[in-house]
């Protein structure tokens, strides 16, 4: 029987990998992929807790999260495409208009 902590460790690893991706990828699409990973790590957490606590509410939440993630990705990609049209690039370190 695999314990709860194993799932949590997996989720933490995925979250960290996603965060690493978000912080280091230069491509905006890559950053979106990182965010996907982080969200899915949260989903794993929710499912694991639902399973081990015997509470279905966690599963319901997960379904919500997945559908919201889809919407987020759609919006995020749309933004990336618009940025590409305007700036002719999706390199994150070239998008530094907020700079001093």
């Amino acid at each position: 029987m695999i314990g709860l902590s194993a799932y949590l460790v997996l989720a933490a690893l995925m979250f960290s990998i996603g965060l690493f991706g978000v912080l280091t990828r230069r491509n905006a699409v890559g950053i979106l992929l990182g965010i996907e990973l982080m969200l899915n790590a949260v989903n794993i957490n929710l499912v694991a807790f639902a399973r081990f606590h015997g509470d279905l509410l966690g599963l319901v939440f997960t379904l919500f999260t997945i559908s919201i993630t889809v919407a987020e990705v759609a919006v995020g990609l749309a933004i990336v495409i618009v940025i590409f049209r305007v700036r002719r690039t999706v390199e994150a370190d070239r998008l530094d208009l907020l700079r001093w």
């Binding site: 965060l19 978000v22 912080l23 280091t24 950053i31 994150a92 370190d93 998008l95 530094d96 208009l97 907020l98 700079r99 001093w100």
Partner: protein, 608 residues
């Protein structure tokens, strides 16, 4: 209101009404001459009322509570009339009236606005002086004391465009303030010891020997300090000669006849209190006599006719103070009255000369007797009175002072005053011989002054003579006490002074330069005013400017320095820290993630 005090109140109220009218109604003030006539009319009625008060020998007191307190008012305002105040009222209103009439011609060339301003100040001054004279307690006296000081400042600086006048006004104000600090501290100390400001209460207590307050000598000394400043006693006399920058009628009224005698009047008024502290009285006598002598020596080397008169005023104030200090305050007060008459006369006559010739320097005058005989005659009358020649007014009062000082066994002051009498005759006749009888110099066309100016001159000259004759016939009570050898002595001294001046400046028998060479150190010192002005200037520069510089340095380098360092630091820090703002969203996310991580670590480590 009792009818008793109605007249004195009228005397007081009229100049104030004139002042108020001129001060508030600008268009009237700016008309100049009409404004002057308003002021003169007020003072004329005031004078008539004062004369009535004096003739009726009114004695009355009436006070109104001013600063309320549980156990009766702390301070009162009101009027206190007695023979002392009556005589002073007449003197003040008389001289003020004559001076204001005289000013109409003397300042006739001024712009109307300036003339109106002049009469506004004049009215305020007369009101303040009368308020001082009628004061029934120390508080009212102090308030009016300061008011006359203010008027003196305003009138010395009447020609405020002239830097010398502005400086002299400030100097007069500051130096008299120095004494006034002592005055007010003394008044408050006296109040805290006795619980009253009222003269009548204080005198009753003094009479009943209920004034054995510890430190009374110090208190009275502090109060005397006020008189030192106001009455130009050594060492605070330095402002009076400089005050001559004001118009000559102002000098005649304020700096000869009335305001400067306020100190003497105050000491005379509170004489029962001073009588309790003989050591302070002795000090007053010595300082007075020393002042008299010192000022007389300075007058001997002065070439400016007004300054000679100013030093002579200081000298005569010394006489009055010496008399007050010797316990002969009636003699001192008599001298105050006669001096007020003939010194005003001398100043106004000098003003007529200056008006005609346009210079104050006696060595650039000469032969004026032929050009303006009337002025010359009245000036000589004033000179004779000041030198103490019978039967003019000055002789009797001066003799009374000398007699009083002799009676008090103050040999030192007596000798100083006797020497002063000689010097007085010398320097006054020096002016007379050089300015009026000397060889005529080219320069201007000296002419007799207009009637508006000559009238007051003649009136004062006649009064000087009349008062003298009245004193000779009536035989003042004061001079009966004097030893028999005193009149010949004082006349003799005056004669010696006269002969010396005649020999040196008229006859040319003795060259003044050689006398100066013989008395070289004295001449040197007197010409430099004994270094006192320099000393004060040095002290002022040394202490006040030094302190200002120190504080300025602290402000500039310490206070501002800290602020500057702080702002520079903030600026630098901002400069360095702005590079954190890369503008890349990833860096910000990195910061957020790192912060969250830190929070977790903190939660793990410290939340236990």
């Amino acid at each position: 209101m009792t009818p008793d005090v109605a007249l004195p109140l009228l005397v007081l109220a009229l100049p104030f009404a004139a002042f108020l009218l001129l001060a508030v109604v600008g268009p009237l003030r700016r008309t100049g001459r009409p404004a002057g006539l308003v002021s003169i009319a007020a003072i004329a009625i005031s004078f008539a009322a004062a004369l009535t008060v004096w003739a009726r020998e009114l004695v009355a007191e009436r006070t109104w509570g001013w600063i309320p307190a549980d156990g009766g008012p702390i301070a009162t305002v009101g009027v206190l009339v007695d023979p002392l105040a009556n005589a002073m009222l007449v003197l003040v209103t008389l001289v003020a009236l004559l001076v204001q009439v005289y000013s109409l011609a003397y300042l006739g060339d001024e712009r109307p606005g300036a003339l109106g301003r002049y009469y506004t100040y004049q009215s305020l001054f007369v009101f303040s002086m009368l308020g001082l004279v009628l004061a029934p307690g120390f508080v009212q006296m102090f308030v009016f004391w300061e008011l006359v000081g203010l008027c003196s400042y305003l009138l010395i600086g009447f020609w405020y465009e002239r830097p010398a006048a502005a400086r002299a006004a400030v100097k007069a104000f500051w130096i008299t303030k120095l004494g006034d600090v002592g005055f007010i501290v003394g008044i408050v100390l006296l109040w805290s010891a006795t619980g009253t400001f009222e003269f009548t209460d204080l005198f009753e207590k003094a009479q009943a020997n209920a004034l054995a307050v510890p430190g009374l000598a110090t208190i009275m000394f502090l109060i005397y300090l006020g008189a030192v400043g106001k009455s130009a006693q050594f060492p605070l006399h330095v402002w009076l000669p400089d005050a001559m920058e004001g118009p000559t009628p102002v000098s005649a009224l304020i700096h000869a006849a009335t305001m400067v005698t306020a100190g003497v009047y105050m000491v005379t008024r509170t004489e029962p209190l001073f009588a309790l502290v003989p050591e302070v009285l002795t000090l007053i006598a010595w300082v007075g006599a020393f002042t008299a002598l010192l000022a007389a020596t300075m007058a001997c080397v002065e070439g400016d006719i007004k300054r000679v008169l100013a030093y002579s005023t200081v000298s005569q104030l010394g006489y009055m103070m010496a008399a007050a200090g010797a316990g002969a305050s009636p003699a001192g007060f008599l001298h105050l009255l006669t001096h007020g008459l003939f010194k005003a006369l001398l100043f106004l006559a000098a003003g007529a000369v200056i008006h005609a010739v346009g210079t104050n320097d006696i060595f650039r005058l000469g032969g004026l007797f032929r050009a303006m005989p009337q002025t010359a005659v009245v000036f000589v009358v004033g000179t004779l009175a000041l030198a103490g020649v019978p039967p003019l007014a000055g002789f009797f009062s001066k003799e009374a002072v000398l007699g009083g000082v002799w009676e008090a066994h103050l040999t030192g002051p007596f000798l100083m005053l006797a020497l002063t009498a000689l010097l007085t005759a010398f320097y006054m006749f020096r002016v007379v011989f050089v300015a009026f009888f000397g060889r005529a110099h080219a320069g201007g066309h000296p002419h007799e002054a207009p009637w508006l100016m000559r009238g007051p001159l003649w009136l004062l000259a006649i009064l000087t003579l009349a008062v003298g004759i009245r004193l000779a016939l009536g035989g003042g009570e004061a001079h009966e006490e004097a030893p028999g050898w005193l009149p010949p002595l004082s006349v003799g001294l005056a004669t010696v002074g006269f002969v010396l001046a005649w020999a040196m400046y008229q006859r040319g028998a003795v060259d003044p330069a050689r006398v100066a060479a013989v008395l070289r150190p004295l001449d040197y010192l007197a010409r430099r005013r004994y270094g006192l002005d320099g000393l004060y200037a040095g002290v002022y520069r040394g202490i006040i400017l030094g302190l200002s510089r120190l504080i300025g340095w602290i402000d500039r380098y310490l206070v501002d320095g800290i602020l500057n360092a702080l702002t520079a630091l903030t600026l630098r820090a901002g400069d360095a820290l702005r590079y954190i703002q890369s503008g890349r969203a990833q860096d910000y996310v990195y910061g957020v993630a790192f912060g969250v991580l830190l929070l977790f670590v903190w939660a793990q480590l410290w939340r236990r």
